[in-house]
Symmetry: C2
Subunit: 237 residues, 2 copies
């Protein structure tokens, strides 16, 4: 199938993406500005920190991470992105990407040229609202992450991280109790501000407590309720 023939209407994640609430004619219009590229391969880079903002990216399949690089050249992961999520919203303020984006898996993405999207948002009220909502949601998620990192200990962070992934898979209609971790433990450690050794030990602990199983990259959540309790019930990262 030609990738360019896939339309928003037939896209499995359109209900999580910008077209939500748009009429068919409006979706056609949105569709017309979207560039669908051939898949990014694992480790391919979508954009780099400092690049001028051309497009924001909606993820159709696969997974990606965003990261910055500090003074010492060390990678600092700022986010993981799954299908239905949008990458690059932080570039709008200064027309410049603030981070690197790299594919963790073979990934399909829709590139949304921002200048066109902005104009279209002026013409389609539903698109404008949805764009604002998506950005607002990202702010919300960032604040939740902030609370998690700021107030919770290592166990709670890891448990909350796994629950968060599980929820995001569930929202996409995918299995939420059994899924593949798209990132390495090194990446998880980096993202959660912990040492890899700690992550490893905590996975072992969670396994001993029969809360989850981890075989290679496949995670099986055995007791979601206890895991949630473990994460500190109030945390909805």
């Amino acid at each position: 199938m030609n990738l360019d023939q896939i339309k928003c209407q037939s896209c499995s994640i359109s209900q999580l993406c910008l077209p939500v609430m748009l009429a068919d004619a409006e979706i056609e219009h949105l569709d017309s500005i979207i560039k669908r590229r051939k898949p990014y391969q694992k480790d391919e880079i979508l954009f780099r920190s400092g690049d001028p903002l051309k497009s924001i990216y909606a993820i159709r399949s696969g997974s990606l991470k965003t990261y910055t690089v500090d003074m010492d050249g060390v990678e600092q992961i700022t986010g993981f992105y799954l299908p239905g999520e949008i990458i690059g919203l932080d570039a709008i303020a200064e027309n410049t990407h603030q981070s690197f984006a790299k594919a963790l898996d073979t990934s399909l993405v829709c590139a949304l040229p921002y200048n066109k999207l902005d104009i279209l948002a002026g013409q389609i009220p539903g698109l404008r609202s949805q764009l604002l909502k998506i950005m607002s949601h990202e702010i919300q998620d960032d604040k939740a992450l902030f609370l998690l990192l700021n107030k919770k200990n290592a166990e709670q962070r890891l448990a909350a991280f796994i629950i968060n992934l599980s929820r995001r898979y569930a929202n996409r209609g995918l299995a939420s109790n059994r899924f593949q971790l798209p990132m390495t433990q090194v990446d998880i450690a980096n993202y959660l501000g912990m040492a890899v050794e700690t992550i490893s030990r905590l996975f072992k602990k969670l396994h001993k407590l029969q809360l989850l199983e981890l075989k290679q990259k496949e995670i099986v959540i055995q007791d979601m309720q206890s895991l949630s309790h473990f994460a500190g019930t109030s945390c909805h990262l």
Copy 2:
């Protein structure tokens, strides 16, 4: 002076606020939807977590904090807000405020009814762009804060926090080397995820190193360069 007579055009922070880049006629239009209330007194609450979103708030003077309350009823501060900044953007996604907002000082704010603002954003392209930029900027700031909390130690966090405040005052044309801390050390500790005792000890240390002076709530930065270095030069929170 009647508060309702203050217009965006004559507002000292309009260059930081939504009117940036708007034509006079457009500003008039924006002006017409804004409600300017009498000042909020210290400890007065603007909105509560769970409240339906009616307005977002632009701060004209004073300072505020936003916070959530965890299971145990403990306050968790999620942000401090200074003049020219906008509170409540995280409420747009679900039409519900996600946090409490409380005045730290006597504060003047402009209430922007969101339904009207959304419609106006459809009519004025510059307003739409500016709103998106402001939201993008908040995402950017949240990500920078995330990196700070995740990767830096206690000293670096506090130093970066003070530098961040200083920069924000500077942007507003206020003294950046000498200013009043609008929040208590308890609040700072809460926000930065540290114990108050640690904050107190670190202020002492920074004073010993002749980087800053703290008398009651007045902070005097004596050596901004060293302080920046101390915070880890790459951090621009």
